[in-house]
Structure formats: structure tokens, C-alpha cells
């Protein structure tokens, strides 16, 4: 990946400037190291602010809200590494949840409603993919358009009321414990492990890095750039729908304004995890750590009685600071 990681080749005279950095330096210039340090720091500060904080059950139960965004952020990491972006998944969560709600309310079986929501997610991803890859439009603006479109369709489906009355087995997934851990958190951890393996160990995963580094070179190397990107867009849609269903289960009802502003949280998790906005570099581990960092910060602020509205300031500042830091770290490691 980065130049600094490569060991010196035996060929040619060794030049002073080309000597490999010591291992600890290599580890430190990786952006995930920054995320990990911040995570430890935030944990210490939060425990110092309130004695109630350092309680695993409390942190895990407050994590369920963020894991919905975090699961989507994992897939978004892959898409951003591949050099594209998707700002529509929060609106996609709302639309999928409203599709679920509308089908369930029509008296059809819940299984069918879940399938309809996932199908809607796939179609949303497909629409983004077609507009970006077939028509060659920039993903940043396309997904601003589809963000507005999906949120609007959710509003048309659900109006300004909330749809509820789902069967008991569907609701309350955040209270269900698997191995003593809330189910959404387990889903997030398993998804992170699977995607990390996919990105690091499979051919397609390595190709995603190559596409983001240089789409032109990737195409010449015979990588099916469009097919892989299309797959990622559709995966984004389906994952957003899944997150929408998790939210519907947690809230026991759906509204069109579900997950409003969630796109900021998702992009923030990916950026904070050290993935480069310019594509080509990044890791699932970084996003995984960043998601926990946000959980700690948000929980810490709540425990310290910081109003939710001031948390907007912190989130915005974090996004800007993290992208500056990542840029500086990558610029240094390239030297």
C-alpha cells in the first residue's frame, strides 16, 4: 500500500533515503493508529467525566443506535476506497423502512415486508450505480439527487404519520442478547470481520484498492471496474435497507424522517477511520475503530449532559479535523 511499508529490495546500491522506517514508525503513520489513540483518549476522558460511564453493559446498549450507521459505513468504506461515494444511504434507510411499514400495514406477512424492503434497497443501489456507471455522472452529485428523491418517496409512502403495530418477534432487536451482547452489535462485529477478510484476502478486495488508486491502470490490468463498482453500489443499497429494518425493529415504528442527517455520521465514521476521500487507501479496521470512537464520544457527551444539539458541533469538527489529519498522515508516509 504505502511506500513506507515496502522493504528495501536487494538490487542496486542502498541509498540512505530509501532505508525502511522502524516498525513502530510505520505503525504510527498508519491512520488507524490515530483512530486507536483517539479511542483510548476518549475512553479515558469519558470515564473521568462520569463514574457511570465505564460500564460495558451501558456502552453496549447505547451502541445499538450507532451500529445501524456503522454497518452501512463498513460498506461505504469499500465504495470510497474504490473512488466513489454515496450520500444517499440514510435516506435509503428511511425509504426501505417505510416500504417495510407500508407492506406490513397492508396486512401482508412480515417476511414479505422484509423481502420488499431489501428489494427496494437493491433497486436504490442499482439506480445510483446505473446513473454513475452507465451515464458517467459524478457519484457525489447523483447521490445528493437520490438522497432527496428517496427521502421524498419515503414521505409519499408514509406521509407525516408513523407506521407501527409490528408483531412482537420483529420489534426490540436492540434488547435481544446474543452471547450477552446486543444483537445489532454482534451483526456489526461479524460484518466487520467478514468485510475485512473480503477486502484484505480476496482478489476482488485487492482489486477495489487498485481501482481507487488508478481506475485507468486498473482497467488496463483487466479489472472489471464497472462490474465491481456496480456491485458495491447495490451492496450499499441492500445494507442501507438492512440498517433501516434494524432501526424499524428498535423503534417499533417507522417514519419518513428516520435516520435524518445519518449520511454525515456514516461519512464521518469512514473518514475518522483514516480512509482517504480521494480513494485507493483505507481499511475496515479503521472504520470499525472509528465507529466505537463515535459511540464513546456520543455516550460520553450524553453522560456529561452535553445537549444533543451541541453534539452536532462536535461531529462537524471531527469530520473536518479527521480529514485534515488523514491527508497530512498520507502525505508524510509518501515521502
Amino acid at each position: 500500500m504505502s511506500v513506507a511499508e515496502r522493504p528495501d529490495g536487494p538490487a542496486g546500491p542502498r541509498r540512505e533515503a530509501a532505508r525502511a522506517r522502524p516498525g513502530w514508525q510505520v505503525a504510527l503513520v498508519r491512520p488507524e493508529a490515530m483512530t486507536l489513540l483517539l479511542l483510548v483518549g476518549a475512553f479515558v476522558v469519558a470515564s473521568w467525566l462520569s463514574p457511570f460511564f465505564a460500564d460495558a453493559t451501558f456502552i453496549l446498549s447505547s451502541a445499538t443506535f450507532y451500529t445501524e450507521f456503522a454497518i452501512v459505513a463498513l460498506v461505504l468504506t469499500l465504495l470510497i476506497i474504490a473512488g466513489e461515494i454515496d450520500l444517499s444511504p440514510a435516506a435509503g434507510m428511511a425509504l426501505a423502512a417505510c416500504v417495510f411499514g407500508a407492506v406490513a400495514q397492508a396486512g401482508l406477512p412480515i417476511g414479505l415486508a422484509i423481502a420488499a424492503a431489501l428489494l427496494a434497497g437493491a433497486l436504490m443501489g442499482l439506480l445510483n450505480g446505473v446513473l454513475v456507471l452507465v451515464f458517467g455522472l459524478p457519484s457525489i452529485i447523483v447521490t445528493i439527487g437520490t438522497l432527496t428523491l428517496f427521502r421524498g418517496l419515503a414521505q409519499v409512502l408514509a406521509g407525516d404519520r408513523s407506521i407501527g403495530g409490528f408483531p412482537g418477534w420483529f420489534i426490540g432487536i436492540d434488547w435481544r442478547l446474543w452471547l450477552g451482547i446486543p444483537a445489532p452489535v454482534v451483526i456489526f462485529v461479524v460484518a466487520a470481520a467478514l468485510l475485512a477478510a473480503f477486502l484484505g484476502l480476496t482478489v476482488t478486495g485487492r482489486q477495489i484498492h487498485q481501482i481507487g488508486t488508478s481506475p485507468e491502470a486498473a482497467r488496463h490490468a483487466g479489472i472489471r471496474v464497472r462490474r465491481i463498482k456496480m456491485g458495491l453500489f447495490v451492496a450499499m443499497g441492500v445494507t442501507a435497507a438492512l440498517a433501516g429494518l434494524l432501526a424499524a425493529s428498535r423503534l417499533a415504528s417507522v417514519r419518513y424522517d428516520l435516520a435524518t442527517g445519518g449520511e454525515l455520521t456514516m461519512v464521518l465514521m469512514v473518514m475518522l477511520g483514516g480512509t482517504s476521500i480521494f480513494g485507493g487507501r483505507g481499511s475496515i479496521l479503521g472504520t470499525f475503530l472509528a465507529a466505537w470512537l463515535l459511540v464513546i464520544i456520543a455516550t460520553g457527551m450524553t453522560v456529561a449532559n452535553v445537549p444533543v444539539t451541541s453534539q452536532l458541533i462536535v461531529m462537524g469538527l471531527l469530520l473536518i479535523v479527521s480529514i485534515i489529519a488523514t491527508n497530512v498522515i498520507y502525505a508524510r508516509s509518501q515521502r
Binding site: T148, I277, G316, I320
Partner: protein, 326 residues
Amino acid sequence: MIGALLRGREAGLVVMILLVVAVVGGLAPRFLDWETLRIVALAVPLVLIGAMGQMMVLVARHVDLSQGSILAFSSIVAGMMFRDLPELPVVAGVAVAILLGAALGLVNGLLVVLFRLPSIIVTLGTLSLYRGLVFLVSDARQVDPQFIPRGLISMSQTSPVLGIPWIVIVAAAVALATWAFLGHSRLGRQIYALGSNPVAAPLRGINVVRVTLLVFTLSGALAGVAGILYASRFGYVNPGITGLGFEFAVIAAVVVGGVSINGGSGTVLGTVLGVLLLGTVSVALPILGVSAFWQDVFNGAVIILALLVDRGLREGGARALRRAGA
């Protein structure tokens, strides 16, 4: 040739507007009424002023997602000044709103040029940051109607000439000034040069930092103007609602008006027509009995369609250029 295409785009927009008026007027005759014209005229000034700023940012190949939050910040601070210092002249509140907007826009620009960051991510961050500041300075409290000065509110109700309300005249003046600046000043032309080719622009002696800072500052200042007009038009300022989603409505109108996302092209006339088209449709939908819930669906679809049309035009233009060159 490209000029002809752009003129074609503007003529197309005029035809679209007339078509909407004819179809809606045919279905619901009360649409063809002076009252409708008045509603449209009151609906567009805010978006029009925001669109002038957003347009300059887009021409320079950037984007400003924080306009709605800047609008809210300028508006709430001015509103709080009116509330807490009742003797303050209205002009002082207006000046503060514009200056604050310019300052927040300048911060966007500085982040973009100092750290070489993509503007979309910077302004996504400041969208949240500035909205948080709105809640912080206002203590999450609304500025209620009784505190907005009469003089300011009457700008949306009274008219100096021909029954045209003041805020429409302000918006028209802003559009004219933008047209003069972009088309007939050295700096204005430099914005186009920068957006057409950011690599070549510094080689031709254009101060990229200055031009970039300028477009973001202007976009912020104009969002500040829109903030004052918001207080005038709606008569209150709410930290959570004011300006929410404003940037998406503005971007939709600007893109429909033919301003290219890829920088370097777009006209003030086209942008004005884009704003008018979307404004007319937003007034027409409820008259046709379409639920207000469809508004966002329509806005989203319009952004995507405009992008597709823009792409088609660009390919057509490139083909025409190749033919002319051969």
C-alpha cells in the same frame, strides 16, 4: 457553437416554464391568476439569492452544502439582536447577518485552500458544525414573530413600484449584480477560467487562492442576505427548521439552470430561469391537488434529470467541436 447550445438551454427553460403554466392553467384555470404570480414571486427570492452564490461556487468547480446552516446562523443572530436590542436600527441587523454569512463562507474557503480538501466534505462538516452553532448561540430557542421589526416584515408585503414587493426587487438586484460581476469584471471571468481548468489557471496568472476564497465568501454572504429575507418573509427564526434543506433546493435550481457540476460553465440567466421553473412547479403542485409530500420526490428527480440533460449536451457539444475542428 457552445454559446448557441447554452442559448438553446435557456430557450428550453423558457419553453418549459410556459408549458408548465399552460398545462397547469388548462387543468386548473385559477392558476392563471395574478394571485399565483404573486405567490411565485414571493416563493423564489430566497432560493434565487442562494442560487447566485451557489452558482459562482459551482462555476469554480466547488460546491457549498453549508448554505442552509449559514442562512440559519445569520438569521438567528440578527433575530436575537432585534429581540435583545429593540432600539437597534434594522440596517445594523442586516449588516451583521451579511458579515456573519461572509465570515462563515470564508472559513469554508480557508479549509478548502489551506488543507487542499474537497469542498463537498468540508461543507458537509460545516453544515453540521454551523447548525450546531445555531443551537448553541440561540440556546435552542426560537425568535418569535413579535420581535422581528415591522420594517423588515413589510419588505415582504409592501411594494415601492407596480406592486412588486421589496424582497423581489432585492433578489433581482442581486441577480443583476452577479451578472455584471461574472460577465464583465476581471475577477468574474477568472472564476470561469479557474473552473474550466484548475491546472492551467495559475499558469495564466490567476490567483487561485484568492478566487476560491472569494466564491466561498460570496456564497456565505448571499446566504446571509437570504437569512435576513427569511426573517422578513416568515416573520420568525427557528434554530431547527430555518434553512433546513435550503442547499438542496438551491442546488436543484442551479443544476436545472444549466450550471455544470464540472465547473467553468453556467449563466446567470439560466440560473434565474431554473429557479423560476422550480418555483412555478412548487406553486403548481398544490393547486393541482398533488400532496406536498411529492415536493422532495420532484426535486430529487429534477436534479437527476438535469444532470442527464447536461451530460447529453456536453457530449453533443464535444462532437460539434470535433466536427468543427476536422
